[in-house]
Each structure stands twice: as structure tokens, then as C-alpha cells.
């Protein structure tokens, strides 16, 4: 009886170890393919990982569940290293409660913001030649060639131009060619068209990708700014359509607040 118990324990441990192994693609690289939820370390499917409190929130209101939003400054992140004039501009957006957020106008919110928010899933499709990332939020996508050079005649874009290469088991994505119309992380974190971003995706076990983004912008920041997050596998979740412009009432409401002098500032 005792032996049977020990055996079943060993089998359970072996099964859970196997379950945590990093899946590999046919070329031997870690396979990032899957549907992921950013900004969380909870394992399980979408329902299991988000049951109870739901998603959203900042925790400022004690009557509501406390989930921090990436539009709030993250306690485990260093303050964004903005140049003094630029920090003032960040504060202005904060004081206006982010009514100038590109997302409120249905424009792409920006990276790494979109990669690590928890409300919408992100799907990664990996082949040896390219990585495709599909963001449900704003129906956005990135097609990232592997071992390629940046295009020479790039026009500035919302999500920039991405090229990737592998450093061991980490996918490194180099990004340039951004316009200056998105936010990097929390409210007001603007950038210039000189932005250079490096993302690192490391699948550390079956369920988890460690995500890191380093932002360099000599026109706006004093030094490189690195943020860390995680993406958790959500088996069974589908990326769905999100057509933001369908019924976006927010710009009109902001106009109304300003026109009627309704105080919404901090």
C-alpha cells in the first residue's frame, strides 16, 4: 500500500515535470506558438486564471477588486527615466486622467503596453522564418522576419518595424521605425520617432514566457528603460475580433466634459 502511494507520488511528479517542459519547434528552438495572457503569473485556462475578481482595475477603490492596470505606475518597475521637460508632459496626461490616450481614439495603444495587458489575449504563431503576433486589443498584428535586416525605406508606423533573431533560447526582437503617436506603458508615457526598442521572449516552461522590453529614446529619456513582465499560456482561448471604431463614444464625452466645465481632473 505504502509502495503504491510512493509510486503514484513519483508518477505525479514526473507528469508535472513533463508538463512544464518547454515545447520545441522542428528547428529545435523554443516554440512560442500559442494564445497568451500578459501581465500575470497565474497558470490555468482563462477561466481558472481569472475567476473571482475578473480583470481590470487599479485597487484604489476598496469596494472593488484590486487589479493594477499598466496605465498605473507599476510598483515593481523603476520610475520611467524621462528628461525633466518630458516628465512634465507625462504628468500633464496623468492629471488629465489620460483623455489623450491614443487608445481612447481607437488608435494602436503602443508597445510594450499591448503585449502585457491582461484584458485581451495575444496569439503568437512561430515558423522558422517569421514570428506573427496577433493582438486582440485593437485588432493589431506584427509580422516579424527572423534573421532579417530592417527595411531601408521605412515609413514611421504605430508599432514600428520588427526583426528577430535567437540568442540561445531567447527570441530577441529589434524594433525601430516608430511614429510618435503611441504610449509605451502607463498614462502619458509618450516617446519620439527616435524610439529603439528591444524585446526578449523566453519561454521558461510550458505555461510561461518571461517578457522584457528595453526602450531607448535619446530625445525623451535620460537612459534606457527596461520593464519586465510575463505571458501565461491560455489553452482553449481564441483571439476574437475587436473593431474599436464601431461605437466609440469616448472622444465625444471628453469634449462634453471640457465644454461644460465638468471637473474630472485630479
Amino acid at each position: 500500500m505504502k509502495h503504491r502511494f510512493v509510486l503514484s507520488m513519483l508518477l505525479a511528479i514526473a507528469a508535472s515535470a513533463a508538463n512544464k517542459e518547454v515545447p520545441r519547434a522542428s528547428d529545435g528552438k523554443p516554440d512560442l506558438t500559442g494564445v497568451w495572457q500578459g501581465g500575470t503569473t497565474r497558470r490555468g485556462n482563462w477561466e481558472e486564471a481569472n475567476s473571482g475578481l475578473g480583470v481590470g482595475g487599479t485597487g484604489r477603490d476598496p469596494s472593488a477588486p484590486a487589479n493594477i492596470s499598466p496605465t498605473a505606475a507599476q510598483p515593481d518597475h523603476e520610475p520611467a527615466p524621462y528628461q525633466p521637460w518630458a516628465a512634465k508632459k507625462v504628468l500633464e496626461s496623468f492629471n488629465k486622467r489620460g483623455i489623450d490616450d491614443p487608445a481612447a481614439y481607437c488608435l494602436p495603444p503602443g508597445l510594450p503596453r499591448m503585449a502585457i495587458l491582461g484584458l485581451f489575449p495575444v496569439q503568437i504563431v512561430q515558423t522558422p522564418e517569421q514570428i506573427v503576433i496577433l493582438y486582440e486589443y485593437m485588432n493589431a498584428f506584427r509580422v516579424i522576419p527572423v534573421n532579417a535586416k530592417h527595411a531601408e525605406d521605412m515609413a514611421p508606423t504605430y508599432l514600428g518595424d520588427s526583426v528577430a533573431h535567437w540568442e540561445g533560447d531567447t527570441l530577441v526582437v529589434d524594433m525601430i521605425g516608430f511614429n510618435d503617436k503611441t504610449w509605451l506603458m502607463s498614462t502619458g508615457t509618450f516617446h519620439s520617432d527616435a524610439l529603439h526598442m528591444t524585446e526578449r521572449y523566453t519561454r521558461v516552461d510550458k505555461d510561461r514566457i518571461n517578457y522584457e522590453a528595453t526602450m531607448e529614446d535619446p530625445k525623451v529619456l535620460t537612459k534606457p528603460w527596461t520593464v519586465h513582465s510575463t505571458m501565461m499560456l491560455r489553452e482553449g482561448t481564441r483571439v476574437q475580433e475587436y473593431i474599436c471604431a464601431e461605437n466609440n463614444l469616448d472622444p465625444g464625452r471628453y469634449e462634453n466634459l471640457l465644454k461644460n466645465g465638468i471637473n474630472f481632473q485630479r
Binding site: G38, D61, N67, A73, P84, R253
Partner: protein, 140 residues
């Protein structure tokens, strides 16, 4: 007990960042919570936000139509909502949320309680997406 729940909330907070389409605080006032019971008159499953409308009767029998805003359809489906099944025109519901700053019968909805006692979230908590308590950058 309250303290334990709050501590658990903080731990959870560090684990799950999430944002909504727009700032909660610009349009809604977290100091004006509202709980209303009434009859569903219309449901809009639209992006970037879904809405439903509720006829609410006051003590004198006057009826006012309230508009509640919440998650987009994809998030509602992952939160347990089934379109045309979970909530229908004519159903009686109780809604908890926060009032709009413009003073109209418009509110952000958090939780809907159905006649049989079931509860589902229709929107995120107060404060979602409005920048938190401190700005991202230190202003010297």
C-alpha cells in the same frame, strides 16, 4: 477579515495588470457608487464597450431609463456571458456601478445580479485605466 481580504487583493494586484479601452476616472466618479434594480430595455453588444439600458422605477412610480457601460463583447464572452441567453430584454436585474460625472442617467457597470441570484461582472472595477495613484515619471 477585511484586512486579510485587502492583503490578498494587493497580492493579486501585482499579478494581473489589465486595462480598459479608456480611462474610468475621466468619465465616471468612483465616489458615486450606484445600485439600481429594474427591467432591461435594450442591450448593445458593441466595441469598444457594450451597453445595456434599464428602466428603473422610483418610489413615486416614475420610470427613468439608465444606460450602463461595460466590457466589449469578446471580454464579456470570456467573463461568462452568452449573448442572447444570459440577459434578455424584459429581464429584471440589479446593477452595481458608478455614476457618470456629467450627472446623466449613465453609469459604469461592474456587477449584474440576475433574478435567480447569479452574479456576473459586466465591467472592470473603478479606476481601471485612469493612471493609478502616481504618475509614471518623477517630476523634479
Amino acid at each position: 477579515m477585511i484586512r486579510t481580504a485587502w492583503t490578498a487583493g494587493i497580492l493579486f494586484a501585482a499579478a494581473i495588470p489589465a486595462i480598459a479601452h479608456h480611462s474610468f476616472g475621466a468619465e465616471y466618479d468612483s465616489n458615486k457608487p450606484v445600485t439600481l434594480t429594474g427591467t432591461i430595455t435594450k442591450i448593445e453588444w458593441t466595441n469598444p464597450h457594450s451597453h445595456f439600458f434599464v428602466d428603473v422605477k422610483d418610489d413615486k412610480g416614475n420610470v427613468a431609463n439608465w444606460k450602463f457601460e461595460g466590457y466589449p463583447p469578446s471580454v464579456l464572452s470570456r467573463t461568462g456571458w452568452k449573448r442572447d441567453l444570459t440577459m434578455k430584454v424584459g429581464d429584471t436585474v440589479t446593477v452595481f456601478g458608478w455614476r457618470s460625472r456629467d450627472g446623466t442617467n449613465w453609469a459604469h457597470s461592474r456587477e449584474v445580479t440576475f433574478a435567480d441570484g447569479r452574479k456576473l461582472f459586466f465591467g472592470p472595477p473603478a479606476g481601471t485605466g485612469d493612471g493609478g495613484t502616481t504618475p509614471a515619471a518623477d517630476v523634479k
